[in-house]
Amino acid sequence: MPDLSLDPDFLGRYLTARLGRATEIVELTKYPRGVSRETWFVTVDASGDRLPLVFRRDLPGGSVCPATLRFEYEIYRRLQDSAVPVAPVRWYEDDPEWLAGGREFYVRDHIEGTWDIPNVTDPRPEFDDLRIAISKEHLRKLALVHTADWETLGFGEIMIVPPSPEANATTTIDRLLAELAQFQLEPFPLVVDAAGWLRDNAPTRSPRTSLLKGTNGFGEEVFRDGEIVAMSDWELASLGDPTSDFAHVQDFIPDIVRDREVRWGLGPALEYYEEVSGLHVTTEAIEYYRAVGFLEMIVFAHNAAVPLVEGTDHLARLAWVSTEVLYWAKNLLAGATGVFAA
């Protein structure tokens, strides 16, 4: 089994054994953009049935993301019977006989759709309605995540549970610092300084403790006919203040002003979100959670340096994340916590 690629012959034998019927690989493609883990699209012919599957596994030296692959799989598994749209997950493979390149992996169905929506970032007026519609769809699905009954779904078994909604922010900070300490290769005095600022400035009120998606928005969800049919990229999921997810939204809350009239933007988006979720989120708290997000960015960007330093993975993308991305995380955290004003 080669280290860096999935062998179609191996996959055919593996799926034949796992599915219990003769299976051939029709198409095998590696998703080119992923940074945290490898994603493989595998279309198979299983005794006449065409199955589109997704294989997820760590990079050879682990993942940029401190959370384990098993953690990611368990999130999908717990969301199967919820209102949150996710791809059906099939199984997690840790049998040493079948590890792909020595790495564990899990398999889920490939949902038909695309992360890319033509013109969704185009600021021309003819795309205003499209951009607002997509934004609302995303907010509706975020509301489903945030109002999910995470206790009944079993998320308390795999995630740190804040003792109260008021403790959402400080629990998040403590969790991130503990994650960093697990693999930290070098000191980050800036992080200690910023953590103090974040504790001092933590919101004292929170709408509730929710399941949080983490990375969300453009590029992170699967759309079909204008609807999100699967929410993807759960590796930064946690329990905390739903406000945090608004600090992570990518591109889906555009500012649209025509003839001095605000058609869309953060204000209208928060009003709409409150309508569909019943949760009140403030712009001030979003600003705060952006700063927390920069701390989180330092944690995963520095984690990318570990396999390079230990020699377990030499993929150049790790070097990019652990240099430029880390620099920007430090720069943004310093700016958000007032260091540049010192």
Binding site: D193, T323, E324, Y327, K330, A334, A342
Partner: protein
């Protein structure tokens, strides 16, 4: 020695982008090629600037730690262990004697100094409830933040010119 290493690296980047990248068709390889171009520019800049940058940061950090040590020595004794650590590290030479410092040596210095600053910050945080309203406490925290700002700015001088265009 001409061409110098940074000049060779410039040649490698230019050749890679002109002759190799256009021939790459596979999407993952195309994406990685973009990352490689950026990283090679970063290596070139680090060849030129990493040594002086680390030296400047270490000098700056030693001056900051001297202020931290002075503040802690004047406090009520709760920082006594850290004061000894800071004194010890500042008593050691800033540069090796009679030999040219390697990058690894400079980096080890930086790491040692930054660990002490990190522990000093943790100790200052822990003491904040008792002494956080004192003017001297506020001043030393401000001094540390000023160092942190300069340190981030120094790093930016190497990172910002290196990364251009698409990254992946």
């Amino acid at each position: 020695m001409r061409p110098r290493a940074d000049e060779i690296m410039a040649s490698v980047v230019a050749t890679f982008e002109e002759y190799i990248v256009p021939e790459v068709d596979e999407p993952f390889a195309q994406s990685i090629a973009l990352t490689l171009s950026n990283l090679m520019r970063l290596v070139r800049l680090r060849i030129q600037q990493e040594g002086p940058m680390l030296h400047a940061d270490n000098v700056d950090l030693r001056a900051t730690l001297a202020e931290v040590g002075s503040y802690m020595r004047g406090a009520d004794g709760r920082f006594a262990e850290l004061v000894v650590e800071i004194d010890d590290v500042l008593a050691a030479p800033n540069m090796p004697v009679d030999e040219y410092p390697t990058l690894a040596w400079m980096d080890d210095q930086a790491t040692t100094l930054r660990w002490i600053l990190q522990r000093a910050l943790e100790a200052l945080d822990a003491a904040r409830a008792d002494i956080g309203t004192n003017d001297d406490y506020a001043t030393i925290r401000q001094r540390i933040r000023q160092y942190l700002r300069r340190s981030v700015e120094r790093e930016g001088a190497v990172i910002l010119p290196a990364f251009t265009g698409e990254r992946r």
